[in-house]
């Protein structure tokens, strides 16, 4: 009886303490993050006000307007630009993360990746403008080498948008891939090679399945911010390289169609949420699988131990 009472009171105490520690942050997020998101969801189903704002009347006009062919074009463009830029980021990040994980100078390399990553994003975009523009660094070098007479048009097109997006978001792909590859047991690659796999075969068949969660994190964390990019297409894109982010901002600040801006924001939020849920589910599945294969791993470990001790003898 007394033990039960004690447990109950300690549970109550635990609850009280937990709430008092976590409530300030919980309230802050509810008021300044969740409430604004709820307002956006709500506004996307309302009628637009004459001078910005909304009228409190249910309407699906905003969602209807999204199917306007002009917006459809921007949506498709946003998708293909994001897919191409993400693919490049991942393809560059896998070998980079691998080389970093195998290097003896991990801290130095992380330092080198993080410095450009933390440098102000506008400064980095500005730097690319001064490299790519008609009178820019690249064209000046080509001119002084006598290869061209007049500056090439390297900026304000889809290509420059994709290039700068890759530049901005490459670290988002490298860092999670480095983290997972760093935890990978490289002796498994030796084992695969012993069994006759080629070097790339070993990496593709043994390493890639083992770093799936890191790969997925890299894809999601690169794709989402690229899909929602605003500054890069604005500053290095041409007239026809606008992306969804630019439409949303224009609808808020220029056209003042808040419901439409909210509806587009809903798409971005939905894409992000699906990405994150996908990532979380797959990492949960991986954990469950790991539990199942522990026995199998034990056997493998035994074989591997036997292998190494045998080799030394």
């Amino acid at each position: 009886m007394s033990i039960k009472d004690g447990r109950r009171s300690s549970e109550r105490r635990e609850r009280r303490l937990g709430v008092s520690y976590a409530a300030p942050m919980g309230v802050w997020f509810t008021v300044f993050f969740i409430a604004p998101l709820v307002i956006i969801i709500l506004y996307s189903f309302l009628k637009r006000g004459l001078y910005g704002g909304v009228e409190w009347e249910f309407s699906l006009t905003a969602y209807g307007q999204m199917f306007n062919p002009n917006f459809g074009k921007v949506l498709l463009r946003t998708i293909w630009i994001s897919v191409v830029a993400t693919a490049f980021c991942i393809l560059l990040a896998i070998p980079t993360g691998y080389a970093m994980a195998r290097s003896k100078h991990q801290t130095l390399l992380l330092f080198l990746i993080i410095i450009p990553f933390w440098t102000n994003s506008l400064i980095r975009i500005y730097a690319w403008i001064s490299i790519l523009s008609t009178e820019g660094f690249f064209n000046e070098i080509l001119k002084s080498l006598g290869i061209i007479d007049e500056g090439l048009h390297l900026i304000y097109n889809h290509g420059s948008v994709i290039l700068v997006l890759i530049y901005m978001y490459l670290p988002f792909a490298i860092l999670p891939l480095f983290t997972t590859i760093d935890k990978f047991d490289f002796s498994l690659l030796d084992a695969a090679r012993d069994l006759g796999a080629t070097k790339f075969g070993a990496i593709r068949l043994v390493m890639l399945p083992n770093i799936r969660s890191g790969l997925l994190t890299a894809i999601v964390f690169t794709f989402i911010p690229i899909f929602g990019a605003y500054t890069v297409p604005l500053l290095v894109g041409g007239k026809d390289s606008t992306m969804i982010g630019n439409i949303i901002v224009d609808q808020v600040s220029k056209t003042r169609n808040w419901p439409l801006a909210s509806a587009f924001s809903m798409i971005l939020t939905l894409v992000s949420t699906v990405g994150v849920i996908w990532m979380m589910m797959s990492s949960r599945k991986e954990q469950a699988q790991k539990k199942n294969v522990t026995n199998q791993q034990k056997t493998e470990q035994n074989i591997l131990d036997h292998h190494t001790t045998g080799g030394e003898a």
Partner: protein, 276 residues
């Protein structure tokens, strides 16, 4: 086939002896060069005496202008500092307390808070900016310094929460039980036992917040009002409406600042890589 096979041994040595000119090393070096090329160009031209991209001769004229002849830039920097310090301090206090509560206690609403604290890091910045703009005008809070402070605290909180949580994972709960057994109350345990031992995590959360806050452009862009422009907003207006090479000089100063912060963080770089 067993371990005694001599060929086996040779292969293993080959693999451990990761070659310098392997495919992955070449890609890595190219990636690092790619990442540093723009920074290098900007720094180089900050020492150019003429305005364009043709090299004239070395000079410090743009640094002189930056320091002595850019009052509105320094005004913007002051705003940036005020916002960074206040929002990071608030986020550090709220985030640290929440991390402690979530780590050790069970209470209703726990999973809600954990999930919600994750979201601001994954949602595109445009969404956070727009939703805050619409929220502030819906509840009639004027855009400006206070609105920027609220927005920055919101996106700083997840970083503090994550870094402190990572530090708490290494903390031994029996220390707290020992403190309680010795008669410490909750407040004493928090201030004298928990906080001192998680201080590295708290500090790195605070510094990370300062960095994020000084860096942010997109979210600030939406919630700033007249006279509340921060440094990134000033840089933006410089890019959009007439570039002066002063921006090159400013870039070098900011890159040096970033390097300094990354240097302070050198021991946490792996944790940061794992959490970003």
């Amino acid at each position: 086939m067993n371990g005694r096979n001599p060929e086996n041994g040779r292969k293993q040595v080959m693999f451990h002896d990761h070659r310098t000119f392997s495919f992955s090393n070449i890609v890595m070096v190219l990636v690092v060069v790619f990442l540093f090329l723009p920074l290098f160009v900007v720094v180089l031209y900050s020492f150019n005496s003429s305005k364009g991209m043709t090299w004239d001769h070395a000079s410090l004229v743009w640094y002189e202008k930056l320091i002595f002849d850019s009052p509105s830039l320094w005004m913007a920097f002051k705003n940036s500092l005020i916002i960074a310090l206040t929002s990071s301090a608030t986020a550090t206090v709220l985030g640290t307390l929440a991390a402690i509560g979530i780590k050790w206690y069970r209470f209703p609403g726990k999973s809600y808070i954990t999930t919600v604290s994750y979201l601001p890091m994954v949602l595109p910045e445009v969404i956070i900016g727009i939703s805050m703009l619409i929220f502030f005008s819906a509840v009639k809070i004027q855009l400006g310094m206070f609105a920027i402070f609220v927005a920055h605290t919101t996106f700083n909180l997840p970083f503090v929460f994550l870094l402190v949580s990572a530090r708490l994972d290494e903390f031994d709960y029996s220390t707290i039980e020992a403190a309680r057994d010795l008669g410490a109350n909750e407040r004493q345990t928090l201030l004298r036992v928990i906080i001192p031992s998680i201080m590295p995590g708290v500090l790195s959360g605070f510094l990370m917040s300062i960095t994020m806050s000084l860096e942010d452009f997109v979210i600030t862009f939406f919630v700033s009002g007249p006279g509340s422009g921060t440094l990134p907003l000033y840089v933006y207006s410089m890019i959009r409406y007439g570039v002066s090479p002063v921006i090159n000089a400013l870039s070098f100063v900011m890159i040096l600042g970033t390097m300094l912060i990354a240097w302070v963080f050198r021991r946490f770089l792996k944790t940061i890589a794992a959490n970003s």
